[in-house]
């Protein structure tokens, strides 16, 4: 069997050496903490505290307001200062609970839980739901929803996405090196929900040390295997990953569960471990603070709500003036214009670059070189789709399967004419999705 992978994809400079060899460091926030009520896909959470309330670490401050929603917990002890719209990484202002940190870190008492092997499936799902766990790879889809497919007996693969194909990011890598046993336990918990499933830890082959560590943790485990995947972006995109592991194809109208797969990110699975074994809600995540503008690039354990500026300070500040700051990886992250935004459940990285590739070149005419076609993991013709998008030709756009785009950005990356293909395709997709919601 050859190395598992998908068709298409790119090999960008990976920049992981900047931060990969330094141990994860915990950061204690100093100033106020900002908890946006919408850190996930679905209905925003509804606050259950009010101005002036004292909150403790681990106290629920906002409740899920529907099935596809997730609660939010305080990560410091202190006083609720106000509830008001605050800017988040996407540039939008989102209603947020602001807590003034009293630096005491008084914790609530976490419930003593029985061993997960004695729990029913419903008890496990409930714990995950209550812990406010969402997909921490970036999308933020509530995990309990993902773990409640219509026909759980048809699920045969529970895959942990350990690919970490985004350049510069090393948070999953550090987690696998430092706490592989938590990851494996988390996966075992998820597997208890699906009677016919086997567990797969899918790792890119540029991380042989992780593969070895994980295999070490799996001695005697027959139901979980470690898969080595070819190192290529976007190997960790859900559809590419499922295809690499199972050879099954998922399109935009399907869910992974339709082909018997459940895919979760590394940090998400560790959060499941914390919730079901330790009774702790989702309060922290690992954030890679990196880039050539950062003095001491490394990974931090960050409390949700911490200001990005504090993370930069923790990493020694800027050694050169950053030209571009990105929340997330360089391929799918958000460019931000202001560091004064909070880290949320889905903040995987803070990348500070001294050079902006996008501004460096002016877009020129498409020369039809077909590189975008060659790299597109969805097997589309991005050059034409972006053309239709720029002409607002919704009909043609959909006819040429524009809605199958997974927004990985390979086409923009590879384009020698420096056209922002992914950008126009993404905005067109947004418009069409909005139309569909309105029932047009």
């Amino acid at each position: 069997m050859g190395v598992l992978t998908f068709k298409g994809g790119i090999h960008p400079y990976d920049g992981k050496d900047l931060s990969k060899d330094k141990p994860i460091k915990a950061v204690l926030p100093k100033g106020e903490l900002v908890y946006p009520l919408s850190q996930h896909i679905g209905a925003p959470a509804s606050p259950i505290v009010k101005k002036g309330d004292r909150v403790l670490v681990g106290q629920k401050i906002a409740e899920a307001s529907g099935f596809v929603s997730a609660p939010i917990y305080a990560t410091v002890s202190g006083t609720v200062k106000t509830i008001e719209p605050r800017r988040v990484v996407t540039g939008d202002a989102v209603n947020a609970i602001i807590v003034e940190n009293d630096n005491l870190y008084e914790e609530v008492e976490y419930p003593k839980l029985k061993p997960y092997k004695e729990m029913t499936k419903e008890e496990i799902r409930e714990l995950i739901k209550e812990a406010g766990i969402v997909g921490m790879g970036g999308a933020g889809f509530p995990t309990h929803v993902k773990l409640s497919p219509k026909e759980p007996e048809k699920i045969d693969h529970v895959i942990v996405n350990c690919a970490e194909c985004e350049p510069y990011l090393t948070s999953d890598y550090r987690r696998m090196i430092e706490e592989p046993e938590k990851l494996v336990e988390g996966l075992k918990i998820a597997l208890r929900l699906f009677d016919n499933a086997k567990g797969v830890l899918a790792v890119e082959d540029n991380k042989p040390d992780c593969i070895e560590k994980l295999r070490g943790c799996l001695a005697g485990e027959s139901n979980i295997e470690v898969c080595s995947l070819k190192t290529k972006y976007p190997q960790g995109a859900e559809r590419s990953l499922i295809y690499a592991v199972t050879n099954r194809e998922v399109n935009s109208k399907m869910l992974p569960a339709d082909v018997g797969c459940i895919v979760n990110n590394v940090d998400t699975v560790v959060a499941i471990y914390h919730a079901v074994v330790e009774g702790k809600p989702l309060m922290e995540r690992i954030v890679t603070v990196t880039g050539d503008a950062i003095e001491d690039p490394r990974n931090f354990i960050v409390k949700v709500g911490t200001n990005y500026r504090e993370l930069v300070d923790e990493a020694g500040g800027f050694k050169k003036k950053p030209v571009k700051i990105i929340s997330g990886g360089p391929m799918m992250g958000f460019g931000i214009f202001d560091l004064d935004v909070p880290a949320t459940k889905t903040s995987s990285a803070l990348l500070c670059l001294t050079e902006d590739d996008v501004a460096k070149w002016e877009p020129t005419a498409c020369i039809h070189c077909a590189r975008c076609v060659d790299v597109c993991p969805a097997r589309l013709v991005p050059a034409y789709l972006s053309d239709y998008a720029e002409h607002y030709d919704k009909e043609k756009f959909q006819k040429y399967d524009g809605m199958e785009c997974c927004e990985c950005g390979c086409c923009s990356f590879i384009c020698p004419a420096k056209r922002s293909l992914a950008q126009s395709i993404k905005s067109m997709r947004k418009m069409i999705l909005a139309d569909r919601r309105k029932g047009v």
């Binding site: 790119i10 960008p12 350049p167 559809r239 295809y243 050879n247 099954r248 194809e249 399109n251 935009s252 399907m254 082909v259 950053p322 030209v323 571009k324 990105i326 360089p330 799918m332 992250g333 460019g335 931000i336 214009f337 202001d338 670059l353 902006d356 590739d357 996008v358 501004a359 460096k360 070149w361 020129t364 005419a365 498409c366 020369i367 039809h368 077909a370 076609v373 993991p377 969805a378 097997r379 589309l380 013709v381 050059a383 034409y384 040429y400 399967d401 199958e404 950005g409 390979c410 923009s412 990356f413 590879i414 384009c415 020698p416 004419a417 420096k418 922002s420 992914a422 950008q423 993404k426």
Partner: protein
Amino acid sequence: MNVSSSPHIRHKDTTGSMMMIVLLALLPATLFGIYNFGLRAALVIAVTVATCVGTEYIYERCMKLPITVKDYSAAVTGILLALNLPSTAPVWMCILGGIFAILVVKMLFGGVGQNVMNPALGARCFLLISFTARMTNFTYDGISGPTPLALLKEGGSLLDLNTFDMVVGRIPGTIGETSLIAIVIGAMILILFGIIDLRIPASYIISFVVFLILFGGHGLDGTFLTAHLAGGGLMLGAFFMATDYVTSPITPTGKILFGIFLGVMTVVFRIFGASAEGVSYAIILGNLLVPLIERVTLPKSFGKGGEKK
């Protein structure tokens, strides 16, 4: 602080850098052409390149368009046109060809990326039809003589042809088409730098050989096949002209279909047509069919091909 939509990084290749590599890849054939046909060939090359670049620059200045000559695509067109001309081509014809290539075939259709047919080939065909005698006046070593293909067309004997000379390129022909070796070195540069893949040239050459064996009338005769592979414009056409980005299909299977079409048409033009050469016409005809080929060869998007067992 700069803000933009993701992705935030870009590959280092630009249109200009890729065209630079094409120029580099054309260097072996160009140098061999000058060595083979003397300084007269260098003059033809210089004039066509200058005309092509100059025409694009002046047109864009006059029409107040962004100047695109620094993407080197006009220079590539210039060299390709020169390599498709005989070394005896008069200067006025080089200038006329260069202007036709850039102005009529490229700029009037909207400039780089918009032209329907390969500019160099468009100009070559224009000159070939308008000035047939001058365009087929090949001189080698001071003696004018027919190309191997023309010789065969006129009923010449296969025994008059030397396989070794045809492979090395010591034969009459256009400036850049004679040396199989120089062209293959250039093709390897294109492939190594990822500028082209083998889909178009391989399907072109393979289908050409297959149809030639079937309909050429000489079966598997080695000299005959070599004459057709190395004695005309096939190699230059397959690696440098048919692979022109703008005028070849964007879809993976479309490229193969395109190559097969070119192979078949080249045999038809060469064997059944009136003229000895058929590569240019085949490619131009293929160029015109590209939108159609793309439409029938759109890749099946991921997940729409049905479940794999």
